[in-house]
């Protein structure tokens, strides 16, 4: 009881401190959403076309270059609220979720420009990729529910 009570007490104290501190500061405030393409009259593509590369938010970090799909992890872990300006969690859940039956490239078969993972016959390729770097599988298939797709063959 003592072991679990301590984290609970810490949590409650942290909640109280967070709530109290949040009433007192006036840090840079992000809007709820980025203006829509309809509002802008065009589809926004490159953050730094309109925003400072290193202003209150370092927008250069969030420019979706050609390898963004493979390399956005660091930016998302530190800047989730910047991602949330344009993307709802459902967008992330195409790939990152506890249980997704359809792989993203299959669910969005016609969105081939997005270079989504596992396109084509990944059943064969995963045997090799899994041997070479199993850590890349673990991020999305590492808990019992997400590994349900692995269990059929891997037990």
């Amino acid at each position: 009881m003592k072991k679990i009570f301590s984290p609970l007490a810490v949590l409650i104290i942290c909640l109280a401190v967070l709530a109290a501190c949040s009433t007192m500061n006036n840090s840079f405030q992000l809007p709820n959403n980025h203006p829509s393409p309809d509002d802008l009259g065009e589809q926004p593509k490159v953050c730094t076309n309109c925003h400072d590369a290193r202003g209150d938010i370092p927008f250069e970090r969030f420019v979706h270059g050609p390898t963004w799909g493979e390399n956005h992890r660091q930016a998302a872990y530190q800047g989730e609220r910047v991602c949330a300006l344009c993307h709802q969690t459902s967008f992330c859940n195409d790939c990152h979720a506890t249980r997704v039956e359809l792989k993203p490239s299959l669910r969005h078969q016609t969105d081939n420009v997005r270079r989504m993972p596992h396109r084509g016959d990944y059943l064969s390729r995963h045997r090799i990729d899994g041997r070479v770097d199993p850590t890349s599988c673990f991020r999305c298939h590492g808990n019992p529910k997400a590994a349900a797709t692995c269990v059929t063959c891997h037990g």
Partner: protein, 428 residues
């Protein structure tokens, strides 16, 4: 039991507190997105060969409340599937999952954000779906923090949810235009045993001449070892951007996630293997239309011999309506069975409404050649074609696609997919 009661009471109090929060006068909005998918393919099942499988999927997203401004809102997203043929391809004909469903309160100062319910948490060492409470806020101009607690969704399939819990948080120090340093912690209990206890540090440094440095390390407090180091530079030079990177994973600490360890990863955690990945990405934005990418990765192991990956890609985007691209990748494995060549060509032609009844056409070819046969085959060929059209001023989009695969698992596999996406957006 007492702990569960405490958590339940805490969550109840949190709900009441959330409902008591000041509401602003923003209009209540309702947005609904429905994705209905129907797939068709053939499989051998326990009830026969070449059985037609026809699963239908519904992905439903609902957002309601103060969506355009700070305030109180509700968000939910989930999917369900029913196999209309019901001929034993799936264990159960129906399946589904609520991916998230939470109340959210945002306040206009300090970036205060409170979420209660099922939610996905991405921050620091957390990459988890949680039924619980999360609170984040700026504490001062340069410090922000977040904490969360509840039950991990990913473990509800292992002996139920009794004794399952998760809590953690992240504190970040950020200085405009200099960078950010974050410290994070996560503790997961599964059936009252420690499933995972991780601490991490993440860093972003914005250096002169547009050079950036990003990275994170995570430490497994359960096995007492560093699980991961991942660090990278981003270096711009005219139209080029270089991204040299380094990653290290210790299998015993990375995969040894205690009571929630699952196969095929459980067996990896029992070894002493460590992988280090060195590499570089090179992007060249030659013009508005042309983009080129080069990629090299070297996989170095403590025990096994190394592997190398080489990749090249090019895309052509002459205007809003057209995208053509191709890529080649070669994995040069230490063993023949770890070596393959991958090639892909894709095309999307959009905004065809003036010329055709259809709005867009897409095509995709993926070809893989394996150095060592897999089930007697040394290649995979995948071809996909798609098209679609929008109706009702863009609120309804219908897409139809078909794909064909010839590979080590299927001699000839033909599949079809019909997709209907409907968007409803309305002020209440």
């Amino acid at each position: 039991m007492k702990v569960r009661f405490c958590v339940a009471r805490g969550l109840l109090l949190a709900v009441l507190a959330l409902l008591a929060l000041p509401m602003n006068s923003a209009a209540v909005e309702l947005r609904v997105q429905s994705d209905t998918l129907l797939r068709v393919f053939e499989r051998d099942t326990t009830s026969g060969t070449d059985n037609l499988v026809t699963p239908g999927y519904e992905y439903l997203q609902v957002d309601m409340g103060s969506l355009s401004e700070a305030g109180l809102s509700f968000h939910a997203y989930g999917w369900g599937r029913y196999d209309f043929a019901d001929n034993d391809f799936y264990q159960d004909a129906d399946a589904g999952e609520l991916l998230y469903g939470y109340l959210e309160y945002k306040r206009e100062n300090a970036n205060l954000n409170i979420r209660l319910g099922r939610q996905y948490i991405f921050e620091g060492v957390a990459n988890e779906s949680v039924d619980g409470l999360r609170l984040s806020s700026d504490l001062s101009e340069n410090i922000s923090a977040s904490i969360y607690a509840g039950q991990p969704v990913g473990l509800d399939s292992t002996s139920g949810r009794s004794g399952d819990s998760i809590y953690g948080g992240r504190v970040a120090l950020h200085k405009m235009s200099l960078g950010e340093v974050g410290l994070s912690y996560k503790n997961i209990q599964n059936d009252s045993d420690t499933a995972e206890e991780m601490a991490g540090v993440d860093i972003a440094l914005y250096l002169p001449k547009g050079i950036n440095f990003f990275g994170n390390s995570s430490y497994n407090l359960d096995s007492n070892g560093f699980a991961e180091h991942s660090y990278e530079f981003s270096i711009p030079y005219e139209n080029f951007r270089f991204r040299p990177f380094f990653q290290m994973f210790n299998y015993a600490d990375y995969f040894a996630t205690g009571a929630n360890s699952v196969n095929p990863f459980r067996v990896l955690a029992t070894g002493d293997e460590e992988i280090s990945i060195y590499g570089i990405d090179l992007s060249w934005l030659k013009s508005e239309a042309w983009t080129f990418v080069g990629k090299f990765k070297y996989y170095d192991y403590d025990q096994a011999d190394g592997n190398q990956y080489y990749g090249l890609a090019a895309t052509w985007h002459p205007g809003e309506a057209t995208d053509l691209g191709g890529e080649v990748g070669y994995l040069n494995g230490d063993l023949s069975k770890n070596t393959y060549l991958l090639t892909r060509l894709f095309a999307t032609v959009d905004q065809l409404g003036d010329k055709l009844w259809l709005d867009f056409l897409t095509g995709d070819i993926v070809y893989a050649s394996y150095d060592q046969d897999i089930y007697g085959e040394d290649y995979s060929l995948f071809v996909s074609l798609g098209t679609g059209k929008t109706f009702l001023d863009g609120r309804l989009r219908v897409k139809l696609s078909g794909d064909y695969s010839q590979d080590p698992y299927f001699d000839d596999d033909l599949r079809g997919l019909l997709s209907l996406t409907y968007n409803y957006d309305h002020g209440l």
